[in-house]
């Protein structure tokens, strides 16, 4: 369980990234955070694995306040909280397998990881996870030889190899075309249901949020302005979150082509 208690974050230049957030995210939920760019979605998500550090309040992950974590305890936190990025963040010159096995780094000693001494189980896990996102035939391809959608699938395999309890995804489909976006979201959804991994996704596409989320959190200017199950969300809700009427650019579309 992830619990935000009166959490605020002020950047060194005085910008308020988060303002007094109080949210509880339960185990196994698929939460989509929506909001315009600059609303604080990224800051929200990055607080949970401490890529940014909130300045006030408490943030509990599995009952532990993570704001004090550093060094070893921070790495322990990051082992159980995996992350997927908008630009995939693969090491482009390395092979797909090396990118995926890097999910094991948190569990592997420094020397062993430098000498590529991974156990059979780790190698097997990496390969099984590649199979799971249907990209196992690219095992030894260099990451930069893959298309955007394939790279994002590799990054999903990497995160799975980490065996996390929580997956954070920061605009995972913003750089992809509509059919590929649906494919990636379908994988995330499937993993969430099958492995009971809590999943928190930032999106700014309304239709995708509606299609994949269990619960929607709306943000504007660093504040949570909506929080509720997807069944209660209407177009009106989004207009309130965005503070303006809905435009075509807020839709990804393309769901029909995929099915």
């Amino acid at each position: 369980m992830i619990e935000f208690k009166n959490l605020s974050l002020t950047y060194p230049n005085g910008t308020k990234g988060l303002k007094n957030i109080n949210i509880k995210i339960n185990e196994g939920e698929f939460v989509v955070i929506v909001g315009l760019s600059g609303a604080g979605k990224s800051t929200f998500i990055r607080s949970i694995n401490r890529l940014v550090t909130p300045t006030e309040g408490d943030l509990l992950v599995d009952g532990e306040n993570i704001l004090k974590h550093n060094g070893k305890s921070l790495r322990e936190l990051r082992k159980k909280v995996g992350m997927i990025f908008q630009n995939y963040n693969l090491v482009k010159r390395s092979t797909v397998l090396k990118n995926v096995i890097s999910g094991r780094l948190g569990y592997t000693g420094t020397l062993k990881s430098i000498l590529n001494m991974y156990s059979k189980e780790d190698m097997n896990m990496a390969y099984e996870n590649l199979k799971r996102v249907n990209i196992e035939e690219k095992l030894y391809s260099r990451a930069d030889e893959l298309s955007g959608g394939q790279q994002q699938r590799v990054s999903i395999a990497r995160v799975l190899t980490q065996k996390p309890n929580v997956i954070l995804a920061d605009e995972p489909v913003a750089s992809l075309d509509p059919p590929t976006s649906h494919q990636v979201m379908t994988y995330l959804r499937q993993i969430n249901k099958e492995d009971k991994i809590t999943t928190i996704v930032n999106l700014h596409f309304i239709d995708m949020a509606m299609e994949y989320a269990d619960r929607i959190i709306g943000m504007r200017a660093g504040e949570v302005v909506y929080d509720g199950p997807v069944s209660e969300v209407t177009e009106k809700t989004f207009e309130e979150i965005y503070g303006r009427s809905i435009r075509e650019e807020d839709m990804r579309g393309g769901a029909a082509d995929d099915e």
């Binding site: 694995n49 890529l51 790495r75 322990e76 990051r78 082992k79 909280v81 995996g82 992350m83 990025f85 630009n87 963040n89 693969l90 090491v91 482009k92 010159r93 390395s94 090396k98 890097s102 999910g103 780094l105 948190g106 569990y107 592997t108 420094t110 990881s113 430098i114 990054s155 990497r158 995160v159 980490q162």
Partner: protein, 267 residues
């Protein structure tokens, strides 16, 4: 308005003030040239007046003494060995320094600035001065030359590599960090793959530089073929000198060619 003043026609493309500044600067610059030339007693005209000296000297270098070739090999390989050892050690030693002088890796400002300052100082010392100092410390011979080359190479390598590291994509590092990797793992998995080709390429380039530099270092007694040149010049044995120079020329061309091809292959 125009009829009560005479019609203005610009006579120059530049305002009068700019023209004055340019004229004065030009006089100053020419003045400096004259003063420098007179005080150092070096006039470009000498090149023509003393042309006969030049031809005389060149004539004394020819024909090269081909019988001398067999004396060259030993010292030549000494030079190449010096360059190989110095480049290898410098490459290894420079790795931590390149990381410490890259701002995106060493986020501690004090440490970063200190390391930058240290490396800048090392880089300002010419290789020949380093050789003179180490010959003074360790005596005449290859060892002094190797130490001088190592320090000289570290200066170059660290400068080139830290700039490459500062230009890498930091997103993969963020991903490795986010999956629980420690600092060394992050560097090994996200930084090294991005910079390794350049690092190897620069090391080969430094090897080329070291071959040439080690020739010069011999002139101050730091080992290698330069020492041989120095000896033969002192004996006024010019045909032998020209043999050495031609051999060095051939070797440098061949090594530069091979290393250039290798670097092309890597990048």
């Amino acid at each position: 308005m125009t009829n009560n003043s005479r019609k203005f026609i610009p006579t120059s493309l530049y305002p009068a003030k700019t023209k004055r500044i340019i004229t004065v600067s030009l006089i100053f610059v020419i003045g400096f040239y004259l003063v420098s030339s007179i005080t150092t007693e070096s006039f470009i005209i000498n090149f023509i007046l003393k042309a006969s000296n030049i031809t005389d000297l060149i004539a004394r270098f020819f024909p090269p003494d081909w019988g001398y070739v067999s004396n060259v090999w030993g010292k030549l390989f000494e030079t190449i060995h010096m360059a190989i050892i110095a480049t290898t050690i410098a490459t290894l030693v420079s790795i931590p320094f390149t990381l410490l002088t890259a701002q995106n890796i060493t986020t501690n400002k004090v440490l970063y600035n200190f390391m930058r300052f240290l490396l800048n100082i090392i880089r300002t010392i010419p290789d020949i001065i380093l050789a003179v100092v180490f010959v003074g410390l360790f005596g005449i011979g290859m060892f002094s030359g190797i130490i001088a080359l190592i320090i000289f190479s570290i200066g170059i390598l660290v400068k080139l590599m830290s700039e490459i590291i500062e230009a890498i994509d930091m997103n993969p590092s963020e991903a490795i960090k986010a999956s629980g990797g420690n600092t060394i793992q992050t560097i090994w998995y996200a930084v090294v793959p991005q910079v390794l080709p350049q690092f190897i390429s620069f090391s080969l380039y430094v090897f080329e530089i070291n071959i040439r530099a080690s020739v010069v270092l011999g002139l101050v007694g730091a080992g290698g073929i330069g020492q041989l040149i120095n000896k033969e010049i002192n004996f006024l044995n010019y045909p032998a000198v020209s043999t050495i120079v031609l051999i060095i020329f051939a070797v440098v061309v061949v090594i530069d060619y091979i290393s250039g091809k290798l670097r092309e292959g890597i990048l």
